[in-house]
C-alpha cells in the first residue's frame, strides 16, 4: 500500500491528507504568535503521527505534554509517559519497529540518559523523530541552554538539523519526517533547538491549516522488514553475526555502518529540495565570516549590524544540518574568508572543531566566542571577540 494513494482522503481524525510538497510550499499559511513548545504541538498536529512517548525534563516538558493534548484530541494514535529517557527511546524503537511514525522530545541529561538507543535506532533503520531542546549537562545542576549534547550525538549516525527559530522548528519537524522516511535514507532524525531561547519565547510562526496533514508513514517502503508479521519472515539469518569471529561477520558489521553513514549522505538531495540547502549564506564574500548554527546565528546577525555601523563588513554562514555535515559547502562558502568566527553555546567549541577539520587553511578559524552553562550571548560579545582578534592580528602583522 503506497501512502501516496491516500492523498485527498481523510485520516482517522478527519484531516485531509495532502502531498508533503503541497503542505510545505503551497498550502495557505496563517500567522500565529506562539512559543516554541506550542510550535511543536502545531507541527505534530499536522504530522499524521501514530505514537509519541514522553518524559519530563526541562525545557522540553511543556512540548511533550502538549503532544499529549493532541492525543486526547485524536490527532495522535497513542501516547504515554515512559519511566526514563532510556526507556522512552526504547519504547519509541518498539513502536517504530512495529511500523508507526514516532515522535519524542528530550533535553540535556535526558539525551545522555537515552544515548545508547541512538546508534541502535540508526543500525535498525528506525526513522524516529526526536526534538532535542538543548540544555546544559554539567554538574552542578543546570537547566539552561547549552549545545554540548549536540556535539555528543553527532557521530551516532542520526540526521541532525539545528533550527534557529520557531518557524524553522515548525518546518523542520514536518519536513524531517519526510526526509528521514525516504527508502534510501530511513534513519532517525534529531531536530534541535536551543532550549528556552526557542522553546519558551514567543515568535510569529506561519502555519498551515490544521485540517491538512502529511501522508502517513509507509513502513513497507523501509529498507529493512517491518516487525509486524504482515510479511512472512521465515528466519532472519542462518547465523547470528554476533557469535562469529570471522571475516564475514566483521565485514557485515563494518559495511552496515558504512551503509548507514551513506544513507545519511543520501539524505542530502531530499534535504536540499526541502530546506533549500544545508547552509544559508549572507555576504559570504566578506573577509570576515561568522559561521554557526541555531540561535548563535541570530546573535551573529545582530553583531554584523553593530559592526557595519563601525564600517567593518562581516558575512555569515548558517549551518542548518549538523548531519549530514555540509563539509564541501562550507569549503566553498568560506574560500574567500580571511578570518572565521564560530560563536557557540558550549564550552568546548565542537562546531568550530568540525569546521576546522573541513576547510583549508584552518588557522583562519577562531574558536569562539563561547558562552556556556546557559549564559546568553549578547551580540556585543561577538563584536568584542571580532575586534579583539582583529587588533591582535594587526599587531602580529606589525610586530611579528
Amino acid at each position: 500500500m503506497s501512502t501516496q494513494s491516500l492523498v485527498g482522503t481523510l485520516n482517522r481524525k478527519g484531516q485531509r491528507i495532502v502531498e508533503p510538497e503541497y503542505l510545505f510550499f503551497e498550502a495557505p499559511r496563517q500567522q500565529v504568535f506562539m512559543t516554541g513548545s506550542e510550535t511543536v504541538r502545531e507541527a505534530i498536529r499536522r504530522a499524521h503521527l501514530d505514537i509519541s512517548i514522553a518524559y519530563p525534563i526541562t525545557p522540553q516538558s511543556e512540548a511533550a505534554a502538549l503532544v499529549g493534548e493532541l492525543y486526547t484530541e485524536g490527532y495522535v494514535g497513542d501516547y504515554f509517559r515512559g519511566e526514563s529517557e532510556f526507556a522512552v527511546m526504547s519504547q519509541c524503537a518498539g513502536a517504530s519497529f512495529g511500523g508507526a511514525r514516532v515522535f519524542t522530545t528530550t533535553s540535556g541529561p535526558g539525551t545522555l540518559r537515552a544515548y545508547e538507543n541512538f546508534p541502535m535506532w540508526v543500525g535498525a533503520r528506525l526513522p524516529i523523530m526526536i526534538n532535542v531542546m538543548v540544555r546544559g549537562i554539567n554538574s552542578p545542576l543546570n537547566i539552561q541552554p547549552d549545545t554540548l549534547e549536540l556535539g555528543m550525538i553527532t557521530d551516532t549516525g542520526m540526521l541532525i538539523w539545528h533550527a534557529e527559530t520557531a518557524q524553522e522548528l515548525f518546518d523542520y519537524l514536518l519536513k524531517g519526517f519526510i526526509v528521514a522516511e525516504q527508502p534510501d535514507v530511513h534513519l532517525p532524525i534529531a531536530v534541535a533547538i536551543d532550549g528556552f531561547f526557542v522553546s519558551h519565547t514567543k515568535d510569529m510562526v506561519m502555519v498551515t491549516p490544521p485540517d491538512l496533514c502529511l501522508t502517513p508513514y509507509d513502513p513497507y517502503r523501509s529498507p529493512v522488514p517491518c516487525m509486524d508479521m504482515e510479511v512472512p519472515p521465515i528466519r532472519m539469518m542462518r547465523d547470528p553475526f554476533v557469535m562469529k569471529s570471522n571475516y564475514i561477520s566483521y565485514a557485515t558489521h563494518a559495511s552496515w555502518q558504512q551503509e548507514t553513514r551513506a544513507a545519511c549522505e543520501r539524505s542530502r538531495k531530499h534535504t536540499v529540495r526541502l530546506l533549500g540547502g544545508l547552509l544559508e549564506e549572507e555576504n559570504a564574500d566578506a573577509d570576515i565570516l561568522i559561521v554557526s548554527s541555531g540561535t548563535a546565528v541570530a546573535q551573529g546577525r545582530e553583531a554584523i549590524r553593530l559592526l557595519a555601523d563601525e564600517g567593518i563588513r562581516v558575512g555569515i554562514v548558517k549551518i542548518k544540518t549538523i548531519r549530514p555535515w555540509p563539509g564541501e559547502e562550507l569549503r566553498q562558502a568560506t574560500k574567500n574568508a580571511k578570518i572565521i568566527f564560530v560563536p557557540e553555546f558550549n564550552v568546548v567549541g565542537w562546531l568550530a572543531r568540525e569546521i576546522k577539520a573541513s576547510i583549508d587553511n584552518n588557522s583562519r578559524v577562531v574558536m569562539g566566542p563561547h558562552v556556556a552553562g546557559g549564559m546568553t550571548m549578547p551580540p556585543e560579545v561577538i563584536v568584542e571577540e571580532i575586534k579583539k582578534t582583529l587588533a591582535k592580528r594587526k599587531e602580529e602583522l606589525v610586530h611579528g
Partner: protein, 297 residues
Amino acid sequence: MDKITINKEFYDIMPPEYRELVETATFGKPGRGWKDIGINKELIEEHSLCAGCPESIAFRYVMASLPNPEDTVMVGSTGCTSLVFPHVAVHNIHSLFGNQNAVASGLKRALAWRFPNKVKDVVVLAGDGATVDIGLDMTLQSWFRQEKFLTICFDNELYANTGGQESGLTQKGFVAKMAPAGKRFEKIRLPEIARESGCHYVASLTVSKPNRVEKAIKQGILIAREIGPTYLQLYTPCILEIGKQSMEGLAEMRDSEGPGERFEFKEYISEEAKAYLAKIEAEKKLAQAPAAVPAKA
C-alpha cells in the same frame, strides 16, 4: 496460510528448510503445541547454544506453544537467547540489553493502533540478567502500566553468555564470577513481585514437563492479549556454569522442582483472568457440544 506461501517462480531456488517451513510448519493451526515437535517443521531451525543446554529445549517448547505464531512478534535481549533468535521463524527484535519490556510496550501499542481489527501478540523472552537486573525498571514499569504482553524469563541463575557472573536470580551463597565469596543476598523473588506489580498470570516452573510449559505459555499469551501483563519464569539451568554434563540438564530441573524446592510449580491467576479462562473453556465446550435440533415452526 495465504501469507506464508512461496512465489511459484522462486520455489525451486528456495532452501529446503524454507520450503519445509512453508509446507509443514504449524502456522495457522489452532491446536498446535509441543507434540508437533518431531512431526511438523519447527519454527526454530537450529540453535547456537551449548550441547544439552536446557534453554534450547525451552526455546523449542515456547515456539511450538505460541497460539498465533503467524501474528506474533517476539522481543529478546542480549544474552544466550540472542544467539537463537536469528534462527526463529517469527519476527523478532533485538535492540539493546535490558530494554526488552520497553521495546515491547512501544511495539504492542504500535500494532494495536495499526491493526485495530486483528490480534497481534507480543512476547518478550529474555534472560535473568536482562529481566531482573539491568532491565528491572522497565520490566516492572511495563507491568504497572498494564501493557498487554507476556514476559518470559529464562532463569539460568546467572549471566551465562558473558561467562557466569552473579545475577539477581543467582542463589544466595553460590560462588560465581563477581561473587567470589558467594552471593551475599537472596535470589530475588520476581514472581511475587510480578503478582504485586499487576501481572494477571504468573507461573514459575522448570521445563522438564512440556505439557505444563505449553499450558503456561498459552495461558500467558491469551490472558495478556485480553486482560493485562503476564509473567513466566522458566528454570533453564546453565549446565556449563554449574558443572554438569550435557545429559544432566533434565535431572537438574527435576531436582529443582520437587516439593519445597525453589522451582516447585507455582501459579497465580488474577480473578479477572480466571473469569476469562472460564469463559474460553465454556465457549470451547459449547462449540464441541452437538448442535441443538432446531425447533420446528
